[in-house]
Symmetry: C2
Subunit: 583 residues, 2 copies
């Protein structure tokens, strides 16, 4: 019987090991019985090594099945038919003893057939088999590395890792909480944290100075494809600082993660753009900067045309913006119709196109443009021979939204997005308030503890909607990967914000109670951010499926198909927590 | 107005900084107004620096209160009256500008008065103030270091950190689960994990090879003083290995934690003792090895006396054991009575003492011992002039229990326990089964997946209670800090264990369902352990109060006094999860 104390992994042996006596253990990945010889591909998470068995010497090997666990003791030999695709492809193992350690049942799907797509529900039910087959373990290695390097960066910067409670208090703001009934306190409930926001600010009040945590957070929301009921957040907060100190730390962390996991060096400092610039240039607060197609204003030129739709629209305050597409003059009518339908599918009226072909400006609106103005259009859009431009006219918010979608679609369709390119951007100075049309009042964009931009304090009284916040996002390749803000540390300013929001003090006390109290005992200036770790993982692993980067994910119906959670519990368990099911 | 971008922390400035212009920020720790001068002790988590203010130049400083947050710009000066107790005690700061950044309300308890004991409930309610006062931040620094170094060791050993689900499935075994009602699936519940046990074994089945995680776990138990509803566990599992590979990794981790946090080098390899030896020598499976007082068997000598109680007891199978106390002959009758009462308080009958004074064996049983046997007693107990011994006679389990308590009490009373000494011990080969007297059947000591000791397989059929398990604990200074076992990877052996436990297959399927199924697809040999991180922290920080080493702990009634969780929630929240409170 061969010991299962292996001497090497299945990915380790090379030509330099030839003639060594070794023990390998692993799973029977492939098993080809050629009569005179049996070839076994032995697999573990480190690789595959070929075992060549003489069935006359080891007759029991003929009975091995896919995914049996075996141990092989033998001598490393040079492989006759080398396999250059395999790191171990120059050697094979000639066994002196082979032991089957444990057997596998017939599999619900093949592990060695990499081509065959397996239904995701089946893969989730047999997650442990999917793990052997798919890229999941590879992704777990990336996740492991990212976790370690993240903590390393924060540790180097003297942040302390503090574990905040999972059994917390339900807060009336934000998304829906997961509740946990209390047994000791009837009719009382804990809530699982949506984020450690209040605790991390409390830590600053407590003088901890710099905090971080890779925290599991929870939201009982109807799940989108990139959401999970529990998710991971890199959470940090620091005192006596502003973004001048915080941004370089965030950048160091992102840089370190990408260097460690992908050997990519994202240049620092990251670009920075205000929310206003961002919306104007890209129509979104999370622009993908891996490609250009920046928006160009055309209102003044449009106003000079005889196109009445433009003229009427401009009187209503419309924006007319678009972007140049290098070489886009080759678009056929059919292709342009396709983009028009795309815009209409987003509830837009349509787009206007323009091309420069043989020095001539072609466009459905060309006839409305004075000959002498055509040069201005070409110049404004930087149109060169063979280029085209798309533009959209309408109310600003809608125009931005449509152009953002169009810009991304054009980039995808034209292959403008380089894979393995990573473009990071800080978007700063978000609006402090938004206007709630329904309730006819202003409300916080971020949360009521976000500091206004200090230059905009004079707006608070009379034009609060013009006030910018000291808040920011980090955008990577068009995804929001972090969000944060400077917090208010001045009691008078905090009270002014509450009063602007129309929240009377007693309501504040009820809503934020202990937290407001804490802020009254000497709060240091502080700020912080939280990174969506799962989103970063999805970018690192190049997947749009969040379940690919989580070991045991839940479905969009919040179920774990492997363990079959959630499930019914014993009546006794409900009785103990003083609850009855009410359907 | 002074910027709050500090140039230094309050613990940083030294004589070499004299004449430097700096900005310090922090809390007003002390504020002494001597009329001509105001002395402020400015504090942050890094230390305290003295600020000397001329109230004529800065009249507003007189209004500063304890715990206001201020920023001071000034020049470092040599201090006239140096304070050797303070790292910054040779310098002080002479301000050029002082700004109060935020004010503090009157405090519920003093922060600068270190002497005064504050009621723990008040400290928990104002945890952020307690943080500024107590050793809590110091302990958080230790916790931070221990967390980092733990992950570093496992990473070096090629373990992958995998985050397992918090929203899991309620299992019928073990302690009481915390439940989380599902909104999407009426009458269904998640459970918070008591440990990631099944998931980590599943990861081994999935071929992950080596897993670790610092996991938050949950148990809804009535809390003892060293328990919390949520606690932290260092959890690891490895494949194709036995304790030969696993123990050195656990030892490396413990060694690294103590080196990093306390600069203490716990020698490796750790001592190893079987459960049976342990019980015999120390009467417990978690002996404190910082002191001796090992037990000595006296049954044969007792049998030679004319003391009928011994004689009758021995016929009933009693054990008669005790330990020598060096210099213990000085115990007065009163002291010995005290120990006797101690034994009686533990429902023991009492102890027997023996002393060697002036060469003579003194003891209440001396008269029952033949003169020529006295030398044998002295020799067996290694009694030297001035020594004493305590011993106890009775049924084995009870005798061990009493002697264990007595041994620890004597060590405490005689100051035999060196502080700053750390003695680690692997206790191995626990019994596989225990006999449940009430239900008249055997049950697993650890869990039914624990492998029997391979040498004891022949006991399984006829004498299962004699079979040892391949399970182990790590004991540190008398505390169990880790527990683990080799798992069964052989299907036939697993089925035998189930049948010995009297569990029919269909019941197994119902109880362990998906997990049993997973084990059937090629399970590698694997083992693992879990460390109680909070217990390790308590040892590192030298406290018996678990709340001293957790940032936001709960009370023994499972309440967070700061946030007032658990609490009532809105009716709407309960309706959404299909529940009614039933009191």
């Amino acid at each position: 019987m061969v010991s299962f104390h292996r001497t090497h992994t299945c990915g380790e042996l090379r030509e330099s090991d030839i003639q060594k006596k070794v023990i390998l253990t692993g799973w029977v990945h492939r098993h080809r019985d050629l009569g005179a010889l049996i070839f076994i591909d032995l697999r573990d998470r480190f690789g595959i090594t070929q075992i060549v068995v003489d069935p006359k010497a080891f007759p029991h090997v003929a009975e091995f099945h896919f995914e049996d666990v075996i141990a092989v003791e033998g001598v490393v030999q040079e492989r006759k038919q080398k396999n250059p695709d395999l790191p171990t492809g120059n050697i094979e193992l000639e066994p002196q003893a082979v032991t089957r350690i444990s057997k596998s049942k017939v599999l619900p799907f093949s592990i060695c057939d990499e081509e065959k797509e397996v239904n995701e529900e089946l893969r989730l039910k047999y997650r442990y088999l999917d793990m052997r087959k798919s890229k999941l373990i590879e992704n777990m290695v990336v996740r492991h590395k990212a976790l370690q390097v993240t903590r390393q960066v924060f540790s180097e910067e003297e942040f302390l890792e503090v574990q905040t409670p999972v059994l917390g208090k339900s807060t009336p703001e934000g998304a829906r909480d997961y509740l946990v009934p209390s047994r000791i306190h009837p009719a009382s409930f804990y809530a699982l944290p949506q984020s450690p926001q209040l605790f991390k600010q409390i830590l600053m009040v407590g003088g901890l100075d710099r905090y971080f945590q890779i925290a599991t957070c929870f939201r009982d929301e109807d799940l989108r494809s990139d959401r999970q009921p529990e998710f991971t957040q890199i959470d940090a907060e620091m005192s006596f600082a502003t973004d001048k100190e915080l941004f370089p730390i965030g950048e160091k962390m992102i840089n370190a993660i990408f260097k460690e996991c992908l050997q990519v060096d994202i240049p620092r400092p990251f670009r920075k753009m205000t929310y206003a610039e961002c919306m104007d240039l890209y129509g979104t607060d999370k622009p993908d900067l891996r490609f250009g197609l920046e928006f160009i204003h055309l209102e003044d030129l449009a106003g000079k045309t005889s196109f009445t739709i433009f003229k009427d629209g401009l009187e209503l305050g419309w924006k007319i913006k678009g972007f140049r597409i290098e070489g886009g003059a080759t678009y056929s009518r059919k292709e342009i119709d396709g983009y028009n339908r795309f815009i209409q599918s987003l509830e837009g009226k349509g787009l206007v196109w323009m091309k420069l072909v043989d020095g001539e400006l072609l466009s459905p609106i060309a006839k409305y443009i004075d000959e002498e103005d055509k040069a201005l259009w070409k110049e404004r859009l930087a149109l060169k021979e063979g280029d085209s431009a798309f533009f959209i006219a309408g109310e600003e918010k809608k125009t931005n939204q449509l152009l953002d979608h169009l810009r991304r679609k054009v980039a995808r369709d034209r292959g403008l997005i380089e894979p393995n390119r990573y473009e990071a951007l800080w978007v700063v100075d978000f609006p402090l308030f938004a206007y709630n049309d329904e309730e006819r009042r202003i409300e916080s964009e971020h949360h009521p503890f976000t500091s206004p931009h200090l230059e905009d304090l004079h707006f608070l009284e009379d034009e609060p909607l013009r006030a910018r916040a000291s808040s920011f996002d980090l955008v990577l390749n068009g995804y929001e990967v972090a969000s944060g803000s400077q917090r208010i540390h001045d009691e008078a300013l905090q009270e002014k914000i509450f009063s602007l929001l129309g929240l009377p003090i007693d309501e504040i006390e009820e809503k934020f109670g202990f937290f407001i109290e804490a802020l009254r005992y000497g709060t240091p200036p502080h700020l912080g951010f939280a990174f969506g770790f799962d989103r970063i993982m999805m970018i690192l692993c190049g997947t749009e499926n969040i379940r690919d980067i989580i070991a045991f994910p839940k479905t969009q119906k919040a179920q774990d198909l492997m363990t079959e959670a959630p499930a019914e519990v014993h009546k006794e368990q409900l009785r103990e927590v003083h609850l009855d099911v009410k359907l």
